[in-house]
Assembly symmetry: C2
Homo-oligomer: 315 residues x 2
């Protein structure tokens, strides 16, 4: 079993796409070999840049990702795209259609595209997403673009995964200020105002400039630059890539990249522990004594904290 | 300390609103007395009905909640409303404005409104939300309406919190079928088609009827009924309440209510364990040996699973 795993890894390392796809599936499906796989791949990872791309539905995320990919390819970079579908009943479904637009890249060996559901039992970007990124990193991709539908918890999770986060907005919603208040400043490393040919574009840019200027900062702070694009017509895309590169330089120079890596690894270890807790919990709660505890709890003879006390001893 | 806690509880039980608000804050802010509080309140809870109200932004959730509240009040029910703000940069902010509409109820002692952020470190509806509902339950509210902005993970979490889930839709998006495919069938106990005066309303109703009919079911399955409303003009609201009551009866009659309670309590215990794991993890990782492990991890001398192995022994 382990031998065939090593074979897959070796083939993946030489650029064999099917092997890569299989390894990713092992991670995504929580295969029994997953732990062994990550143990072997982790030492080989650590050189890729991970970019998060997020924004509200309809902002043009997929088109921008498409254009960024084409531009990065021209620069000789190998690009992997992870599209995270938040599995929301209200937003799901769009991503698959968007992917069709990416078909121009399917014959290109330097581009790899994978859609993932957020199957994480506990919400947000699943633990598996992080490990899929690790696999792609070990597979020699230079840049990994993680595209998330900008809803709910996923934006906060992208901070535990991406070195640089690009937030894409469009000048159509009147509530740009409200958007700002809600915490985007903490997330964005680069702002993109897409569909910049629309009349309200400059107004949105101005508002963003003001917001960025008002944020707490000193000379060491990275202030997110704002780039106008028309992704559809390929306008402003090269500039976006330059800004992302600048942010990467900033991270490297200030030592923030290592700090981020530290945080990412912490959350990876924590995810592993939670997933073990979850397994052990499921096992215990389905046992005879687990059922008894639950019955007492249902009858309100004991309370949830007392049940937790009794269970945590055995975990 | 405990004495003053008991005093707050006693006052809350006699209907003192400020005491209730304080107790909720203790839960929401993760106060040190939180565990003791829940231990005391849990035996007093268990009689409230918990309704989840979810749907896409702009569907009219808050207006419907407003009307449902007025109607339930006429029936003599005490109503608590928990509005969960998913803290999304892209959707946050709307809820506060919506709340202003609810001001008609503020002079009514039988209505209590509270907005909560989803501060849960691990996404979705936070652990605190469940415990806030528990507090309101112990405070003699008959119906607790939990309103969530319909994005991302929160819909799935509502299933671990609400006895009956109402999904509200509007006949404006052309993608009703896609919405269905994405898993709404698993969530909805009652469908509401709001803004039913719009021309496409009947089309949406028909599509929902078809979807419901096509779902896997036998004679014991609850098939979610579909109710047209114009919440703004108070049309169809009483009918919604009747349907929710029918669903509650169905749950009681079939024993499903107890099964749900069981699942809710399981997830409450699990949340407690994760929160303890989180505390213990933070403590360990900040210790000398934790820092050392993390450094080795950063240098790729060891892998995340090995770090987890070394830590889980001490947890």
């Amino acid at each position: 079993m382990s031998d065939s795993l090593q074979q897959l890894i070796d083939q993946m390392r030489t650029g064999h796409r099917l092997s890569l796809a299989r390894l990713i599936s092992k991670v995504e499906n929580g295969d029994s070999e997953r732990q062994e796989l990550i143990k072997r791949l982790y030492p080989l990872s650590g050189s890729a840049e991970v970019w998060g791309i997020t924004g509200p539905p309809g902002a043009g995320k997929s088109t921008l990702v498409d254009r960024l990919t084409a531009d990065l390819r021209k620069k000789g970079k190998r690009v992997a795209i992870v599209a995270v579908d938040p599995s929301s009943p209200f937003t799901g479904g769009a991503i698959l259609g968007d992917r069709i637009r990416m078909q121009q890249h399917t014959s290109d060996d330097g581009v790899f595209i994978r859609s993932l559901g957020t199957r994480g039992k506990h919400g947000g970007l699943s633990h598996a997403t992080k490990e899929v990124v690790m696999v792609l990193d070990a597979a020699h991709f230079d840049v990994i673009l993680v595209e998330t539908a900008g809803v709910g918890q996923t934006e906060l999770d992208i901070l535990r995964l991406a070195h640089s986060v690009l937030v894409i907005l469009v000048p159509e919603s009147g509530d740009s200020i409200q958007v700002m208040k809600a915490g985007l400043m903490e997330i964005a490393d680069v702002f993109v105002v897409n569909k910049a040919d629309r009349p309200e574009a400059d107004k949105l840019v101005k508002e963003l400039v003001t917001m960025v200027g008002l944020s707490d900062h000193d000379e060491h702070t990275w202030l997110p630059p704002i780039q106008k694009t028309e992704a559809f017509r390929n306008v402003g895309v090269t500039e976006v890539i330059e800004l992302m590169a600048k942010h990467q330089e900033h991270l490297a120079k200030t030592g923030k990249k290592d700090l981020k890596r530290r945080e990412f690894l912490k959350s990876e270890v924590f995810d592993i522990l939670v997933s073990r807790l979850s397994q052990s919990f499921d096992g215990q709660i389905q046992s005879r004594s687990g059922e008894d505890l639950l019955s007492e709890l249902l009858q309100r003879k004991i309370d949830p904290y007392t049940v937790a006390d009794r269970m945590s001893g055995v975990i």
